[in-house]
């Protein structure tokens, strides 16, 4: 086993051309995922986390989207210049993808078995029958009761949570080295959310793949991640292990995010009001010079808007893009 990261994004910039101008959805993102590691990307809606995830498999619409700069290194190989035919061999075979909306992510006119089998046949050249057997086996793996019968059911015969299980079964059917899950629990209700997260953890234990989990829920992060990357307005603002992030959040935005997690005990007993981060996310059409969070930051000082703070390591393994913290080894 080599020590090089499984996936490494370097200075990734993805811009979208719109009628109003260029939207800089992802503006210089660095991110690594090691083998068998779970990394969470958190941030509020529109911070570029989904675009980052989709770009790894080049699933964003191009045009209007474009990878302006940066590298996507998977097992050392840069995916950005890869031709479509090579990219197809990576998708599902090397990197599985689970989408946010289980209700619409499956094709309504094919049975779930056909849809899982299609993936297996594409990458492993199995016979129709063998692929269907694999599909049933995958359904059993994700704890769908009666898998032999359920393979012949259509997506509309499954509930939302069950469909997400099918999506996970499909994404894992070719035994990928990395699973990217883009807000896999956002569209589900709370009890089902817990089940799906548990399933993801269980699959990771069994199959040993790395997981890149995109989410906006800090609860999900605490539950699953080993390492966390916090994104704000198309940039990474903080990166740390999950323990370090919750124990000692450095970036004022991360601090705000953690303070804004609803706490059921406090809300019921002391009637404390939930703290929110004031202001709104800046426009990505014309991002402000300097720190993008400055306008909403309680620690903002004149230097913040002068230049963009780089992402620096402040304690070993803990990186922050904020001028409040000096770098450890300059």
């Amino acid at each position: 086993m080599n020590d090089a990261p499984l996936l490494a994004l370097h200075g990734l910039k993805v811009h979208f051309k719109t009628d109003d101008g260029m939207v800089r959805a992802v503006d210089g993102v660095d991110l690594t995922v090691n083998r068998a590691e779970t990394v969470c990307v958190v941030g509020e809606s529109g911070c570029g986390k989904t675009v980052t995830a989709m770009t790894i498999l080049k699933l964003i619409a191009m045009p209007p989207g474009r990878i302006v700069a940066g590298e996507i290194r998977f097992e050392g190989r840069d995916l950005v210049p890869l031709p479509p035919a090579e990219m197809q061999k990576i998708r599902s075979k090397e990197i599985g993808f689970v989408f946010q909306e289980p209700m619409t992510s499956l094709n309504p006119v094919y049975t779930v078995g056909q849809q899982i089998a299609e993936t297996v046949r594409q990458h492993e050249g199995l016979s129709r029958r063998a692929a269907m057997d694999r599909a049933a086996e995958m359904l059993r793996l994700v704890n769908i009761p009666n898998p032999q019968r359920r393979v012949n059911d259509y997506p509309h015969q499954f509930s939302g949570g069950m469909r997400q299980r099918v999506m996970i079964a499909m994404a894992l059917s070719c035994n990928p080295k990395l699973l990217i899950a883009d807000e896999p629990t956002t569209a589900l209700d709370v009890t089902i959310q817990a089940q799906i997260l548990e399933l993801l953890n269980e699959m990771k234990q069994r199959l040993g793949m790395a997981v890149l989990l995109i989410t906006h829920a800090m609860g999900v992060v605490a539950e699953t991640a080993q390492r966390v990357v916090v994104m704000y307005a198309g940039k990474v603002v903080e990166e740390a292990t999950v323990e370090a992030l919750f124990a000692d959040p450095r970036h004022p935005y991360t601090q705000g995010l953690i303070r804004s997690i609803p706490r059921i005990d406090l809300a019921a007993t002391t009637h404390t009001r939930l703290e929110a981060i004031p202001g709104t996310v800046p426009s990505l059409l014309n991002p402000p010079i300097g720190c993008r969070f400055a306008a909403r930051c309680r620690h903002a000082m004149p230097d913040c808007v002068a230049a963009e703070p780089p992402l620096r390591e402040v304690t070993p393994g803990h990186k922050v893009a904020c001028i409040l913290y000096p770098e450890v080894h300059a």
Binding site: K89, T104, S105, P108, T119, Q122, H123, M170
Partner: protein, 319 residues
Amino acid sequence: MTNYVVRRLLIAIPSLLGISLILFTVLALAPGDPFEELATNPAIPPDVRAALRASLGLDDPVWTRYFSWLTAMLRGDWGYSFVSRVNVDQLILARLPTTLAIIGASQILALAIALPVGVMAATRPYSIFDQVANTLAFIGFSLPTFFTGLLLILLFSITLDWLPFVYRADLSSTGWTWLWEQVRQSIMPVAVLGLFQGAAWTRFVRSAVLDVIRLDHVTTARAKGLPEGSVTLRHIVRNALIPVVTLVALQMPTVFGGAIVTEQIFRIPGIGSLLISAILANDTPVIMAVTFVFAILVVFFNLLADVIYGWLDPRISYS
């Protein structure tokens, strides 16, 4: 499924009865007399004409005439043409193959154009191909068939003298020569009808494909690592076909109607020209029979559209 079809066929009976009643009443209210010609013929005295009318029941009240038509119809007697003095069912059966051949060929041509062009245009939205296809489609369905028909006749029959402009059902030749003549005389009517219909369907296919192309499951298909061709055929076109097939089936009766004009221009001895000449001659039994056949076609294709819809879309169930 069988239950559903039987139920739909049973529901069709009252609606066909209603249609026939309305048709009959409208025809009875329309001015004109099938014996107009005889009135100007000095050899036939007025009392003979009156006796003739009475013997055919033309002087009876509308209700009586409708019920006698209906009972005859139910017994399989479609009536008797006043003008050509032939049984109406024979008249229709003689004309039907020509109409079916021309319409069938033109619909195949229309689909052969609309499906590939519509899909290609939608998968490359706003490209040069899309814009050219859109412009041509717009021109295609903006030009009425009577105009393009005359234009083609002017160009290929009169100026260039390549193709005949009168369609003959009674070609004297046999074997390959017959086939060749048949093809030559069919090209223009089939092209006129097919291009017109194809243009309209191209736009429909394009918009149906565009509706599917942005759905989440298409991104899923790409994430599965399928080649772009499979994504397009299996996950875009297959789903987009659901509304297209329904529309094609629903439009079939309209196409028979549209063929009336084309048949008239190219003098094709089909059902449409039979209807036109019957209307001009006040030949009520023929008008009644042909329009009733159209009504049956409408009911039948509606049912067919529903059945195909349920077959293509597993979310629809008729149980």
